[in-house]
Amino acid sequence: MSTTQDSMDIRYTGEKGPLFNLAFKTGLLTVVTLGIYRFWQKTRIRKYIWSSVDAGGDTFEYTGTGIEKLLGFLIAVVFLAIYIGIIQMVLFYAGLSVMVDPQRASPQEMIAQTIALYITFFAVLPFILYAVYRARRYKMARTRWRGIRFGMEKGAWGFVWRAMGYGFLAVITLGILTPLQTFRLEKYQADRSYYGSARFTQTGKWTELYPAMKHMLIGIGILVLSFALIGGGAVSENVGLIGFGGFAAFVGYVWVIIGGIHYGVQSFAYLTANKVLGDDIHFTAAPRTGFVIKTYIVGGLLVGLLASVAFGIVGTIAAAFIPLLQNGGGMIAFGIVMAVGYVVALVLTQALSLILITQPILAHYIEKLEIVNADGLNRIAQREAETGVDAEGFADALDIGGAI
């Protein structure tokens, strides 16, 4: 719906009931098919969520398919199984074993295990980053609005090297250069993104992300101060000072976490407000950190409460079978009731967290988004279809990408 002549509001029309039904039903199907249906589950949930995004009266469409996800996943598994197998073999020859009994190992063995785990992680890291880019590219290529495709150029390896480089910089500066990492990586991806024939451009400056980082820096400051207090208290044997330092450390810790969420929300707002589509289509974004945190807390509590009720019911039903445990048949019935109940309660919990946490936060981001100069959209033409076969297989195989 247009508010003014050339600005377009975006609405989120998804509801709790239908999404819950969809997630619960497909979750059970996933269990019944030993996990294979999860690719179709993800596809159908995305179709629902995409179609809930209504911009100017037209909804988005997700055109991905389950079969292409399964296929991409199998390709990634073949590759990763061989790759990780080779890495493990090399480590074996080098005498570094990931398998060590923590109770009986010598310090040298523990160190060797730690080194082996790090080598394995850093060997897989490029593929995790590769998967991040490929997954975004796949989602773009399978998203359509007004019949026009989104798209993203190839460039996953370029992303991998940059992500490792900026990540390294951010780590050695103790997080001070995080905005540089956030901005450059988003710019790399945004500048390769298209809507139909029109290209996105990321404008703005990385230093302007520092205001969003304010609370993280305050939290880190409090933490540093609290360690100084605890250290000072320990030296002067002042118990009161140590106690106060401990309290400050707790405050600092919570502040860093909330500051991190704030940074996530506000850096998204800045980066979105500074994106340009084509020559003159702009965006405004005003998501509120308070809403996101409130949803995490209230939604998290609600999910926890409902999940404990569900697991409690399973336990009660299972308890009714305990008198039957004397014979073999009763034992099997008890096991089946427990397993089925547990699985159903787990699927229920996943569906609940989707409708109580993921969807409201997504809806908030989308509702606070607006397209400025929307008239330019009418001049955009179609782009070619993408034909990659691996879909987001690497992301699925490496288990990244979250709820949707």
Partner: protein, 374 residues
């Protein structure tokens, strides 16, 4: 839903309106549409869609919008605001055909074949190779980790792993059997032998020369020679590195299967099933080879291989009560042959020398009564 009735009463004409996206531009074009019942077409300005080829895009939010597409056209869309057209589209729920189907199935076949190759060829091959070259320290660590896991898995109380039996006199007797057997071996191996305080009638070997005997096995044996026979059989597994190969194989297969089935609710069940499957493959040729090794070792140590036959007969007599490794023995059709082979292995005129004195054997039978925990 309902199909369009053929013949008889003709369905009433239907007119509706909506937006059309041609898939070429982002411009939404309002269109008036009607169903041409004679030609079975949905027609409008620039649109002639056969009603049989129209598909509805499913899993859409907000039941008030209907998104229609044409079977062969991946991009063009019709957005309607009234559901009254639904009964007139007989195939709207059928899935649109996959594009480039041949290529897709080619890739699918290649991918499934590769996964199968990895599971059934590459993993066993790599495990066998690795078992030859694995450094002793790695093999030892592997065995220790596996042993801890088994002890935890066997525990019913959920408090602490099943304990080792370590009564000193019993240990002495056990070492005596070990020394009698290992003294006759061509290549010395580093063995560590444990007795687990568990009633299962069982014994197994683990990577790194770990041999585990269960209390239930000692209780079931009536002579030390029977115990020594099982012991020798397990040494046979250690020599041929069966446990190492087995552990590496299952680790590899479970790793790959874990990747495939993912981390979902029923994952543990699948892995358990897979483990059972792999377990069953372990014992075919390897058991026979370990038997032959045991016969030879027993004879050289001055003990009768027939003791192995006696032990096997006890397993068979236990019938349905036997579990795990022994249970597998029973399911194996060749158990009778193995009993016969053990009896046949006794050379003519063979005179066994005694293994343990009566009090030593009693001490070994009481190895778990000390109550000291490991």
């Amino acid at each position: 839903m309902s199909r369009v009735p053929h013949g008889g009463t003709r369905p009433p004409p239907l007119e509706t309106s909506g937006d059309f996206f041609d898939g070429e531009t982002a411009f939404a074009r309002p269109v008036n549409l009607r169903i041409d019942t004679d030609r079975r077409l949905l027609t409008g300005d620039g649109i002639d869609w056969p009603v049989d080829d129209i598909r509805e895009v499913m899993d859409q939010a907000g039941g008030d919008l209907i998104v229609l597409r044409l079977k062969g056209d991946p991009v063009a869309r019709l957005i309607l605001r009234h559901g009254d057209i639904r009964p007139r589209l007989p195939n709207r729920r059928r899935s649109a055909p996959l594009v480039r189907r041949g290529r897709l199935f080619g890739w699918a076949l290649a991918a499934v074949t590769s996964v199968a190759l990895i599971l059934f060829v590459l993993v066993p091959l790599m495990a066998d190779q690795l078992a030859e070259y694995i450094p002793p320290s790695g093999e030892k660590a592997l065995g220790e980790v596996t042993l801890t896991q088994i002890r935890e898995a066997l525990d019913d109380t959920g408090l602490s792993p099943v304990s080792f039996c370590t009564a000193p006199k019993g240990e002495q007797a056990l070492r005596k059997i070990e020394a009698r057997l290992t003294a006759q071996m061509a290549t010395p191996v580093d063995l560590s032998v444990h007795v687990l305080n568990h009633e299962m009638v069982n014994a197994f070997a683990l990577p790194g020369g770990q041999i585990v005997l269960f209390r239930g096995l000692i209780d079931e044996a009536t002579t030390p020679e029977e115990l020594a026979a099982v012991f020798a059989h397990e040494i046979g597994h250690v020599i041929s590195r069966d446990p190492t190969r087995h552990a590496l194989r299952s680790a590899g297969s479970i790793g790959v299967l874990g990747l495939i089935f993912g981390d979902f609710a029923g994952g543990a069940v699948v892995l358990l099933l897979a483990e059972q499957l792999i377990e069953a493959q372990y014992s075919q040729g390897a058991e026979g080879a370990a038997d032959v090794f045991a016969h030879d070792l027993m004879i050289r140590a001055g003990l009768s291989p027939a003791a192995l036959a006696v032990m096997f007969e006890r397993f068979r007599a236990l019938g349905g009560d036997a579990e795990g490794f022994i249970g597998h023995f029973l399911s194996h059709p060749g158990l009778g042959d193995r009993i016969a082979a053990a009896r046949d292995a006794v050379p003519a005129g063979f005179r066994p020398r005694p293994l343990l004195a009566a009090d030593e054997w009693r001490a070994l039978q009481d190895i778990c009564s000390d109550g000291t925990l490991y």
